[in-house]
């Protein structure tokens, strides 16, 4: 597959946008500016980016507790996201949802999700709507290695295959569900090995190679759009940070992290683009600076926005 320079650069920008956003969120959380739980996507940027580069605003995604990267890759606005993390009325959810529940249905983002395994049935449902309305749209379900052990995931995959739904299950295998390592939580080496249980195509790829992700996703999405049903793509990756901010990470070795920092998807892709002459180091630095500014902007917007008022407590419960 040869990808246009524009596409390659867009993906590069997206990955860096996620990294810039998440890095700042880590600092803001440490400074006590962001309440609640935040689960950062640092290190996994290639997955959301490579997949969502294949999607339109009309396509759906179901996300997870680790959702910032999915949102940004699907077009979510950093300022509305940041305002939500700050619990402000200008946030995506008027401050009612927070990091684990940011959604933008206009962009087909069915929300981050606080329930592990909560997303797969939702994505299959959105795919059912796409099939039912015959609108050519599809749904993508991002889920973690830990989530693949939940019954809801099994049920959603089984029903999706029975009904040939246009959904692609994208597993983000970062080797851990909080402290539980995949070697202890499943006996198969790859989550993709489970696709056979539903007679669904399943592939395992390098989730830190955005081009590999893009290509696998475009093939699976082609099948979905052509009515050939669901697929499973397992992306091997790693989270550079703790499970959530504040996690002491007692359960993994420093060496393991260091090995994976070597495989950081961003410098890797950057070098490739430079070698391909699609990008120069100077332009790369400019892009990063611009994105840093965008996040500063988002932060300013968030901090200057008003907090919700107790009078908002009972609004938005019912339609």
């Amino acid at each position: 597959m040869d990808l246009s320079n524009e596409l390659l650069l867009n993906m590069y920008v997206t990955m860096n946008k996620i990294r810039a956003f998440e890095s700042r969120v880590a600092e803001l959380f440490a400074d006590g500016k962001i309440p609640g739980f935040v689960h950062l996507y640092v290190g996994e940027e290639a997955v959301a980016t490579g997949v969502c580069a294949n999607l339109t605003d009309k396509d759906y995604i179901s996300s997870t507790h680790r959702g910032h990267g999915h949102l940004i890759a699907k077009g979510g606005k950093p300022n509305l996201m940041m305002a939500e993390l700050f619990g402000k009325t200008t946030g995506y959810c008027k401050g009612k949802g927070g990091s684990m529940h940011i959604a933008d249905l206009d962009l087909g983002i069915m929300g981050a999700n606080g329930i592990v395994g909560g997303g797969p049935p939702l994505a299959s449902g959105a795919a059912l709507a796409c099939q039912y309305l015959d609108n050519g749209n599809v749904a993508v379900c991002f889920f973690g290695d830990g989530a693949s052990n939940q019954g809801t995931t099994h049920e959603a995959m089984n029903l999706a295959t029975c009904w040939k739904l246009p959904v692609v299950f994208v597993n983000e295998n970062n080797m851990y569900g909080i402290s539980s390592c995949t070697i202890n939580s499943m006996c198969v080496p790859n989550v993709a090995d489970r696709a056979a249980a539903y007679d669904m195509p399943g592939v395992t790829i390098d989730g830190n190679d955005v081009i590999a992700v893009y290509e696998a996703a475009s093939e699976a999405l082609k099948r979905a759009r052509e009515g050939q049903g669901p697929s499973l793509i397992e992306c091997k990756t790693y989270r550079h940070r703790g499970h959530f901010e504040g996690d002491p990470c007692v359960y993994r070795r420093k060496e393991e992290l260091e090995e994976w920092l070597e495989k950081d998807p961003i410098p890797r892709f950057e070098q490739k683009l430079i070698d391909m002459k699609v990008l120069t180091k100077e332009r790369a630095d400019e892009i990063k600076a611009e994105l840093k500014n965008e996040v500063v902007e988002a932060e300013r917007f968030a901090s200057e926005s008003p907090l919700p008022d107790a009078s908002d407590l009972l609004t938005d419960v019912y339609s």
Binding site: Y60, S62, G91, Y92, C93, K94, G95, K96, G97, H101, A103, D104, L105, D106, M110, G111, N113, G114, I115, G118, P120, P121, L122, A123, S124, G125, A126, A127, L128, A129, C130, Y132, L133, A139, G151, T152, E155, A156, N158, L159, C162, W163, T315, D316, V317, Y318, S319
Partner: protein
């Protein structure tokens, strides 16, 4: 008005709404070829085809969960949970996803879906196929809970539930499926959240739900022979609850008995009694008596099952107590 039974009235509501709105689909276990274990969806597959009437594997989390996803993406799912007792394998998608999405997303979501489920004891189906669990659903913000007692109410409320833009839990007492009644022809809706006075009376208010409405009415007949004039109020919708109608009835009778089939402890009757004790305390001339199932699972043996279900006699005793 034509006469039909409760199940036929529900079937009629399905047909009319499916004709009216092409985005209404039905899904569940055995809802298609079989027509639903209790026959509520019979004939729908032939009339509307497999795209709109979807037999599913045994997979309640996915049946409910796909409905939630489909609803957020533009459809109006009406899914059947064969027995409400099975909610334990599908509750998350209903209460953490469907019920909370709109709020969590700051209002920017619409989840128009109906979860229908049979409930109630009386056919010897034992502990895992006989429960009434309305109190569980009532306690969960974001859900609406409907529990009709007559064929006409069943049709009007289900039609409205399908048109409602919120997740609605629609509870059908299995003993009622066979009862007959007059049902308005054609499109017919009853607003959610409006109680119905099933019998006017001035001495005592009985708030009863589902099957207990009929037990209460029978008790009321017997009591009227003894000169006690009972008013029977059927909330019909348990969430939102029409406390206004209940309280104004109490203001008239000054006596309240609440009866439901579900377990008394922490049941829906507790909310009704507590609300009256809070908002109409000074109107009360007697303690509020609640009747419900004893604190035990539903027993299998008909000998025990009959003793488990609140009876006409228990209602009559309760009324006499509050009249004393």
């Amino acid at each position: 008005m034509p006469t039909m039974n409760f199940a036929q009235a529900l079937n009629d509501a399905h047909k009319l709404e499916m004709q009216r709105d092409p985005n209404v689909y039905v899904a569940g276990e055995d809802v298609g070829v079989y027509g639903g274990i209790f026959g509520v969806t019979s004939g729908l597959l032939d009339q509307f085809g497999p795209k709109r009437v979807r037999d599913t594997p045994i997979t309640e989390s996915a049946i409910v969960g796909t409905a939630v996803g489909a609803a957020t993406a533009g459809l109006r799912p009406v899914v059947e949970l064969m027995f409400v007792d099975f909610i334990g394998v599908a509750l998350d998608q209903l209460f953490n996803q469907a019920a909370k999405m709109k709020y969590m997303f700051g209002g920017k979501a619409k989840i128009p879906m109906v979860l229908r489920a049979s409930c109630g004891a009386g056919i010897g189906a034992a502990a895992q196929h006989s429960q009434c669990l309305e109190a569980l659903f009532m306690h969960l913000p974001g859900l609406k809970v409907v529990m009709p007692s007559t064929p006409a109410d069943a049709k009007g409320l289900l039609t409205q539930a399908i048109r409602d833009d919120n997740p609605v839990v629609f509870l059908e007492h299995k003993i009622l499926y066979g009862i007959e009644g007059e049902v308005p022809e054609g499109e017919f809706t009853i607003p959610l959240g409006k109680a119905d006075i099933k019998r006017e009376g001035k001495d005592v208010t009985i708030v009863a739900t589902a099957r207990m409405v009929h037990t209460a009415l029978a008790a009321a007949e017997r009591l009227s022979a003894e000169g006690v004039d009972v008013e029977v109020v059927d909330p019909r919708t348990l969430s939102p609850l029409d406390t206004e109608t209940i309280i104004s009835s109490v203001k008239k009778t000054h006596r309240l008995v609440v009866v439901h089939e579900e377990v008394k402890f922490c049941g829906s009757g507790a909310e009704i009694a507590a609300t009256v004790a809070e908002e109409a305390f000074d109107e009360l001339d007697a303690p509020i008596i609640r009747l419900g199932a004893p604190f035990a699972p539903v027993p299998f043996s008909p000998a025990l099952e009959q003793a488990y279900i609140p009876s006409e006699d228990q209602i009559i005793d309760a009324v006499k107590k509050v009249m004393a």
